[in-house]
């Protein structure tokens, strides 16, 4: 049994230490926001946040995660109460097929937690590991800027922090 801290909760997981985090999130914990894309850390659809930084969960085995805090998209907000990053992506209609979007939001969230006012160039550089095949990049870019502004407003105060 391995203890894994996800979205603020401790989970006892019965898995080999070399199991990729993504498999545990989806199969054991039924947190299905993070997607399996390439399985090789080349597409970004499995991106989650570990201790405040974007991590590719498909190439991160459990044995690296002892004592660390994992955050998935489910930890940011809910359908009823979406987090600023989720609201911004919806308002900009940034998803086409949507497969990459959870990963995009997690990496953008990690960026906004350390840089509250990123430039276009910084967002592009940050999101470079995350691929979108539908071509909604311009909307994604706008959504990240919108999320930065949402996080700045009073009603969303505190939402830059994560559980």
């Amino acid at each position: 049994m391995i203890t894994l801290k996800v979205n603020g909760q401790d989970h006892q997981v019965d898995a080999d230490p070399d199991t990729p985090l993504l498999y545990v999130l989806r199969n054991d914990l039924e947190l299905n926001a993070a997607k399996f894309g390439c399985g090789l850390g080349q597409c970004g659809s499995c991106t989650v946040i570990v201790d405040g930084q974007a991590v590719l969960s498909c190439v991160t085995p459990l044995l690296l995660l002892e004592g660390k805090q994992v955050t998935t998209l489910e930890g940011l907000g809910t359908v009823a109460a979406p987090a600023p990053i989720q609201r911004a992506f919806m308002e900009e209609q940034a998803a086409q097929c949507g497969y990459c979007i959870a990963g995009m939001m997690m990496r953008a969230q990690a960026l906004l937690m350390r840089n509250s006012k990123p430039t276009d160039a910084q967002i592009r550089a940050e999101l470079e590991p995350n691929l979108c095949r539908c071509g909604t990049h311009m909307r994604i870019l706008r959504a990240v800027h919108r999320a930065a502004r949402l996080m700045d407003t009073a009603d969303a105060a505190g939402d830059r922090s994560i559980r």
Binding site: P20, L40, G41, V59, L63, P118, P129, R142, H145, R149
Partner: protein, 447 residues
Amino acid sequence: MAGQLRIITGIAAVVLVAGAAAGFAVAWRPSIAAISPPQPDTFDPAMVKRGRDLAAIGNCNTCHTTQGGANYAGGLPVPTPFGTIFSSNITPDAATGIGGWPEAAFVRAMRSGVSRDGRQLYPTFPYDHFTNVSEADDRALYAFLMTRQPVQASPPANQLSFPFNYRPLIAGWKLLYFHGRDVPSNEAKGAEWNRGAYLVEGLAHCGACHTPRNALGAERVNAQFSGGQVDNWHAYALNDTSHAPVRWTADALYAYLRHGWQADHGTARGPMAEVVDNLASVPDNDVRAIAAYMADISGAPAPDGKSGADAVAQSSPADAAQAAPAGAAIYAAACASCHESGRPLPYGGINLARSTAVTSPDPRNLINIVLAGVGAVEGERGPIMPGFAASIDDTQMVALLNYLRARFGKRPAWDDLDKTVREARAAQAVSLAARDVPAESSQRGKP
């Protein structure tokens, strides 16, 4: 008594004045009068094109362009043991660039490291190599630079400690170390080798990174190409002390320099990625010439069988795992799925038994690559690797490095790994923080 004192004072004054005059004679260079920037259409387009290729071989943009900044507009901080020097603006802007420079001033700067106004230039501008560039090539480079978009930009002031902030001292440095190094020539080696020698020792200035420097920052001539330091990376030895598990050949070097990776050696990264990025667009003959000359520098294939890719052996996984069990588990879970996939480069990871990063006496390149990965090059196909900085902590990193060294490096463990890992991570954090400067309101996107 008073007379004696007067004589001593007099002698001291004469010595001081003579010394100052000698120093002045050594350090002083005349200013060359500024011109109004020449019109781009006054330059021969063929010459401009040749200058463009030469600028790529000279890697001018790497130092004279900041990340995300205008091409050749300067301002890049170059860390040195003496402080930070900021690269100059070499666009043809009259006020802040070299727009006012006549051709003669440009040639003089390349030849002898003196600015148009007569100031001594710091040898971070590698004129110890550029002095070997022919006047015809200097003129082509001038034509190329003077036909770029002028950009008004002044670099920040250099941050150098005393006495290094006193430019006339550079003249003394030149007396010691700047002797207009010759380009080796050898008719028996053929035209390609000689062309390669001209490029490598001159414009391409390979030794600026790959040759170690002495306490005053000059390349150690008796240790040419035995490996140097640049920007927290180790520039590998390229001579016969190379640690490459597979010997470099001219063909392998050509492929590596042209495409940025080679199946027996892996991928260019760090500062070398920028070099191969530039070399991707220069005439084929010149890349072949550089490869031929450097293959000769690296020496004949060793008789012990290290010449063939098949000769790459590794320790048994079991022995290595015994040496570093925690590292073995991390390698198996996080690395092997790409590095042992059997997919050919660039789509699979290199067999680490072929990686100079693992056999090198300096572990920094391997640490950098595990932390940051290999990023995609814009507009290019090429290998990419995810970075593990966020998911691997320092203890896990050290365990992984010890395992890789034991299994694939087959050399004694690296010393002081904890410290080197901490330093590499700190250096990476600094460069990330520099990238994260928040936007001005004018740069913010509109909804």
